[in-house]
Each structure stands twice: as C-alpha cells, then as structure tokens.
C-alpha cells in the first residue's frame, strides 16, 4: 500500500499469537463480498480462527443530510438504504412520519403499500438467494431467479417509473395509483415465479454439493441471535417464529392469513430455505391483497402533507400556496419522537424520528438490520473454513446502503 495513504481501519487482529497462523484481508473490494465490507481473518491453514469485520465504506452521512432536508425530500434518500427492496424503506419511513403527524392513510393505500412491500420482499429474497447460489457455482439457478427478479423490476417500473429506487411513497399516501392492467400482469408474474422457483427447488434442495456446503455452516442459536439483536430471516432460521408482521401488526398484515416459516438449526441451509418459504408466503399474501383491494383514493385529503391536484394548483390561489408551502417548507410535523419498526426483507427496519416542530427533522436515526447483523457476522464465520466465508456472508445478505448509511 502507498505509505502516503493512511490505513482507514485499525485491525483488532494485529498479531497472531501463534507462528502457524496467517492474517489475511478479505475485501473491502472483493468479488465475493457483494458490498464493500472488509473481513480481516486469522487463518490456521483453511480454518478461520478469528475475524474482525469492518463496514462503513459506503458511509455517506445519511443521517446528517436528513437534518437539513424537508420530510418529503427524504423519501429518495431512504430509498437508497436497502436498494434491493426500496419500497419497504419508503413505507416504513412514511409510516413513521404519519404516526408523528397523526395522519391515517386511506384503506386503498394501506392495502397497496402492503402488496408492494411484499412484492419488494420477493425481489430482495430473490437477489439474496440468486447471488448466494451463484457464488457456489449454481449459475442456472441464478439465471432462473434473476429472470423473475427482472420481470418484477420491469413490473414495478410500470407503476413507479423506476426499476430499483422508486421514490414512490408519499407522506399520507403514494405517488400514484396502479396503472391499467397492472394486476393482470401481476398474476402472470406470480405464476412464472412459482414455475421458476419450483425448478430452483429441484436443482438445489437435495443437491449433495449444496447441502455439503450449506448444512451446519455458519450456525447461530436462538439465544445468540436474540442477544446480538439479530432479526428477520436470520433469527427465524434459528427456529424462533419472530416476525414483526405477526407480532406487532402494521399496515394490513393483521387482516392477512400467513405463516411464519422457521428453520431448525440456524445454518446457511436454513437461511436459504426460510427465504424461499417466505417468498411463498408473500405470494399467498399478495393474492389475498389483490382480492381485498378496496376502491378509493390513494392519498389522504389532508392539506398538511398531501399535494393538491395539479389542476387546482394552476387555477386556485389557495392550492397554489399550499403546494408552494409543502415544497419550500415541507410538511409541518409536530414536536415529538417516534420509533417505528417494519419487518424489512433482512429484519427489523426501524426509524427513530425526533421533531421539534417545523418542516425538517431534528434527528433521524435508522435502525438498519444489516448493521446489527454485521455485529453478529463474526460469530457465524469463526471456526469454519475460509471457503465458508462466501456462502455465510451471502446468506446474511448485508446491504451496504443500509448498513453504512
């Protein structure tokens, strides 16, 4: 390394106590770590003895930046937390602001947000499983899953206008209603999804190589997981049926019939299987939501947060001023604090907002599952082989955007 460039990290593993071990750097830029993360590992031949996980390479001052923008301006920012399922971030953030303002969203918006959140969860899980399988050499399974993910991205682009970062949530509603024929195409994609994941199940589930690589690797017990704050599919893979959608229902989850899939021993195989089963449950939920989707507006009629009709903005002075104030000053959020947690694709996604009144947050803190999971990653890597780092890290599904903020 160029001596003029100081090392950004101080490793916890400076010296190995033994003369038969070696310390290696994995990352921060490594083809097998999707996301810039650095793992400093002490190896005894192929065995990982100790690891020191460093994240933060994608830190961009998200929380600081939030303090100087209006509540509405933050929606594109929160999109870029977990960019594999950006809509879940959008809705969790909007929900937090709405609770602070005391805004009740419309029934149609509630169902649509739930539907789109589950749709995003499928896209996120597909990304995670596809990448994890590809790293083990399962190229066919990768292509099957990414084919479906691309259909979902295109389909989400038809409603939101973007493939990955949608900026689709609004405080008090959504940016738009569904376009004509969207639900018809949705059902076609769900049928395709079942066809393609069925093939992946056949290719992978009982595959000797896959089982040998995944079974009993990167295990975590329920007690360890809870102690380390691990949530989401990682916690459920240990056998604990903990899901915020069931435990503290929000949006329309209380009205839905779904199961919480759990694993047995909290290893890589269980994490793979829990994610596959969760996608099935999401499909089941989406079909129920399509059936119960009520008619009506998607945005609340509340002048504190919803933008007035464009036609009215051009013709009425009140609507024009309302629009101007919402853009320039932002929605007025009363003083107070709130912590709202949604079940993100990776676990508990929490927004802690502090307002002192006015159009900008005084403080905004994101409880991101990936960051907390990085704190548990060491435990899942130590004691296994160097080659296991790749599938274990893949099954944690660390997303740099939300981890480093």
């Amino acid at each position: 390394m160029d001596p003029r460039i100081p090392n950004p990290v101080r490793s916890a593993i400076e010296h190995s106590g033994r003369d038969d071990t070696v310390i290696v750097n994995i990352g921060p830029s490594h083809p097998a770590t999707h996301g810039t993360v650095q793992i400093i590992a002490e190896l005894d031949a192929e065995k990982v003895l100790r690891v020191d996980v460093h994240c933060g390479y994608l830190h961009r001052g998200f929380e600081k930046e939030c303090e100087v923008h209006t509540w509405h301006n933050l929606i594109p920012y929160v999109d870029r937390l977990n960019y594999c399922s950006a809509l879940i971030n959008d809705f969790a953030y909007c929900d937090a602001v709405e609770r602070l303002m005391g805004v009740e969203i419309t029934p149609r918006c509630r169902v649509l947000r739930t539907l789109l959140a589950e749709y995003s969860r499928i896209a996120d899980h597909l990304t995670c499983i596809a990448a994890a399988l590809m790293e083990l050499g399962a190229m066919t399974a990768f292509l099957y899953l990414v084919t479906i993910r691309d259909q979902i991205y295109e389909h989400l682009a038809a409603v939101t206008g973007a493939r990955v970062t949608y900026s689709f949530g609004r405080i008090g509603g959504l940016a738009a209603d569904l376009p004509e024929g969207w639900l018809v195409r949705l059902e076609q994609i769900l049928v395709d999804f079942e066809e393609f994941t069925g093939r992946v199940h056949k290719l992978v589930d009982r595959n000797r190589i896959f089982i040998d690589r995944m079974r009993g690797v990167g295990t975590l017990t329920t007690a360890q997981a809870i102690d380390l704050g691990v949530t989401g599919p990682l916690l459920r893979s240990t056998g604990a049926a903990r899901d915020l959608r069931k435990d503290t229902p929000y949006l329309a989850y209380a009205d839905l019939d779904f199961e919480v899939p759990v694993g047995i021993q909290g290893d890589n195989y269980d994490r793979y299987y829990v994610r596959m089963r969760e996608m099935d449950e999401s499909i089941h939920m989406i079909r129920q939501l399509v059936d119960m989707l009520p008619e009506g507006p998607v945005c609340v009629d509340d002048r504190r947060c919803s933008f007035p009709d464009k036609a009215a903005v051009y013709t009425q002075i009140e609507a024009l001023i309302n629009h101007f104030k919402l853009v320039m000053d932002g929605p007025e959020v009363p003083a107070g604090e709130i912590y709202t947690a949604h079940e993100g694709a990776n676990g508990e996604l929490g927004f802690y907002l502090v307002s002192t009144g006015g159009g900008r947050p005084y403080k905004l803190h994101v409880r991101s599952p990936s960051f907390v999971h990085m704190g548990a990653a060491g435990l899942m890597l130590e004691g296994y082989q160097l080659a296991d780092v790749v599938p274990t890290f893949g099954s944690i599904n660390m997303i740099g955007g939300e981890c480093d903020r």
């Binding site: 990290v9 001052g61 600081k64 609770r99 102690d227 704050g229 802690y352 409880r367 990085m374």
Partner: protein, 157 residues
C-alpha cells in the same frame, strides 16, 4: 404479571433515579446514568426485554446536560417496546456500556461513539466503525458543519 404492564414495571423500578411515563408509541423510562446497568439487567431478566433493538443519542445543543442517549428495548416474547433515556454532559459524555447484558450493544456503541462522541464505560472496542481511523470530530453533533470535508486521500486537482 399484573394486568397493566406499565404499572407492574413502574412498581419494580428503583424509587430514585427512574421515572416511567407513557409515550405516544411506547413507555419512556428516564434514568439517572448510574442506574442504567441495574435497571437494564432487571428489565432483561424479570420483564422479558431481551433484545436491544437500537441505540442512539440526541444532541440538544444549548441545553445542559447536552446529550441524551436513547436505547430501544424489545421483548421478543411479549412484543412490547421500551425506550430508555439518560442525559450526559458535554464535559464528560460517559455512560455505562451494555455489552455485558446485550451483545448487540458492541457494534451500536461503536457507532454512537463515532457519531456523537459518547463514551461507553466497559466497551473496550470503541474503534471507528462507520468512520475511519483519524477522523476528527463527531459528525452528528449539531456543531459539526455539514459541509466540512476530511478526505483520507487528497482530492485530485
């Protein structure tokens, strides 16, 4: 357990240095810093608050004490949440570390130390985590200018 969890909780807490109030989203427990370890251990062992969800701080610039450290606890069995708050001064922003009770605190305290300069007594590993070694100041403090740049590698001309 009684019928009202809030009342049961209030009875179990020490008489001094702890005050419980009903917040809009969850109960809020104001603690004196020296009560922290004792109360968090009690909450974990006897009241089922077994997961530390979140840890952060708020910089109330201009008030004394200046910083407010905020913990969010969650009970994975009873699904209730609790917010713990304590104030620390600018001169000595130190609170006890929760690493002995909740393993999740290890990383969260590192982040909070990075961002606000809160020191956690008992956490041996407060190396920078989101920032880099040698970063000056604590960026989420209100007196840290948002446009201040500290590039590790000099920017190109």
């Amino acid at each position: 357990m009684g019928t009202d969890p809030l009342a049961t909780l209030a009875q179990a807490l020490p008489a001094e240095g702890a005050s419980l109030s009903a917040g809009r989203d969850m109960p809020i427990l104001q603690l004196a810093p020296e009560r922290l370890l004792e109360v968090v251990r009690l909450l974990k062992l006897q009241h089922g608050f077994d997961m530390l969800s979140d840890l952060t701080a708020i910089d109330w610039l201009g008030q004394t004490p200046r910083f407010e450290v905020v913990w969010h606890l969650y009970g994975t069995d009873h699904h209730r949440r609790l917010r713990i708050k304590t104030r620390v001064t600018e001169a000595d922003p130190t609170v006890d570390s929760l690493v002995g009770i909740h393993g999740a605190a290890r990383f969260m305290e590192r982040e909070c130390h990075d961002m606000y300069g809160i020191r956690f007594r008992g956490n041996e590993d407060l190396r920078p985590i989101l920032l880099y070694e040698g970063f000056e100041g604590h960026p989420l403090r209100k007196d840290y200018p948002i446009d201040r740049e500290q590039p590790l590698v000099a920017l190109r001309e």
